[in-house]
Point group: C2
Chain length 341, copies 2
Amino acid sequence: MSDSDTNRVFLLAERPTGRPDEDTFDLAEREIPEPGPGEALVRTLYLSVDPGMRGRMRAGESYAEPWGVGDPLQARAVGEVVESNGAGFEPGDVVAGRFQWADYTTVRGADLTAVDPDVAPISTYVGVLGAPGLTAYFGVQDVTEPKAGETFVVTGAAGAVGSVAGQIAKLDGARVVGFAGSDEKVEFLEEDLGFDAGINYKTTDDYGAALDEAAPGGVDAYFDNVGGEITDAVFPRLNVDARVGVCGQIALYNATEVPTGPRKLTTLIETRATVEGFLVYDYSQRFEEATRKLGEWVQSGDLQYRETVTEGLENAPDAFLGLFDGENIGKQLVKVGDRRA
Amino acid sequence: MSDSDTNRVFLLAERPTGRPDEDTFDLAEREIPEPGPGEALVRTLYLSVDPGMRGRMRAGESYAEPWGVGDPLQARAVGEVVESNGAGFEPGDVVAGRFQWADYTTVRGADLTAVDPDVAPISTYVGVLGAPGLTAYFGVQDVTEPKAGETFVVTGAAGAVGSVAGQIAKLDGARVVGFAGSDEKVEFLEEDLGFDAGINYKTTDDYGAALDEAAPGGVDAYFDNVGGEITDAVFPRLNVDARVGVCGQIALYNATEVPTGPRKLTTLIETRATVEGFLVYDYSQRFEEATRKLGEWVQSGDLQYRETVTEGLENAPDAFLGLFDGENIGKQLVKVGDRRA
């Protein structure tokens, strides 16, 4: 962890072809920036790495503007205000927002939200109480809408989004089945989070047979963070009027050719199922409501969460790359600094 | 056309592998059946053949029960009541319902609907005022929901469903682009139906380029009757919050292996688009409202329709097989008999 007076900043060194690696990133030394009018200088405490960042490394259009080569990488983060230039915060305030992969960032006060360290640990504001938690909340409550007695399946189930989604579906009374990538994760789902069944997709040959066992009544709601072959096995098992929420497709993000797979639209006619892609930022009008609800569930113990914390900004690329191997349980964070105030 | 006293009935001779052919059908001679209590004996006048029938020739589960080998084929049809055994109709009444591919069928009175020959020609009750028209109506008004100024794309655009769907989208104020399989059909779309553009998919090499020209602002609503490569070209051109209604996938119905193609779910995240399969029978509570509306549009001339009529029950298999070559413009019918009453 740096407490020097220079500012370390990760830049996009080159656009990755296929899987990103260490050559994707360039660590530069910069001066600590001065906050402009209405801005605050924030010191990074926790930085989020998430699979969606892969999309911004591409040149093509997507829902988010691509990062330029040579530009600083960005991330949702929690930090401490060092200096405020009319930003509406005081030095020492803990805030969340979009920072650079850096020790220090200047951010407009309007783009920062206050973090209350008394509600939950500050790291949760980029995890269970941050974008991943909100993504799970809206993806369950507004998109896949599991009802009591229905079967809800989630992929990436031990990850930041999936682990919360499955628990909310349980709170809604659904039978919950999760796909995850290790026996340790499956145990986490079944023992700690109360999932009805976990499937280790790395040791299971036949996803369809595993689903037939874990979800013998078929699938009513499917929350997909992964895509690819697991999704291929889920579609033929969708029930009439099933809802599919497409949140992420990490299995495909590093593909160098257009990925192909079984065509699925005929299944939708037979089932009258609905497939909907969603982005959490479309629900920003309701973030306050959702954050309050998530906070209540965390405080009551209804919502369990876990974090995988990598120490040191310099290790942020490794933390990001590890996502594609599924190394994390729960939210993958990078701890960049400690609170001083 | 038969006016003998025997009843010709087409049976499912064998389940087709791949494309059905003449061996799929067996023409049997049977006695004219007696209507049981509450039933009517109806003489077939017009028989509908439609691509969805391919699904019922398969053994596997689908939304409709598969036909048994050796059993009579069924179809939506219009006929004349010959004899009523407490069915609530009089001999000579024109009725619509699900008949056999036969000269005569017995049908429960509760399963028949009265046809009013004064509103429109009786053949329209299996076409623009029947299941195809209703499918188009709900697929546009409830599923793909084109708004004024939006771009609506439909495949199978010169067919029974697509031709009506495109016209309803025009009534809703959308720019309408249709894919069809001949220059004659494209002319029909552009000249007779008022589509903004038609694309002959059989003579167009690059569907994407054709769409870029015909729908330069991207696609807001997509009504898919066909699937396959045209759909592959539409998906990357979907706009934010686009709606896709999956009505049919005739391009895939005769596949002997699981059809594969580009994976599409990542597109849905970027666009937050919704893909929904639908079946007209799920809207049966609203058939009366929709039929009235369609009838008004037909009478006002807002809704044009065309029919391709094959003469003679014995030619019903050819009429059905021709659907897979796109031989029909508008609704494909088989004329089995004339009204006598």
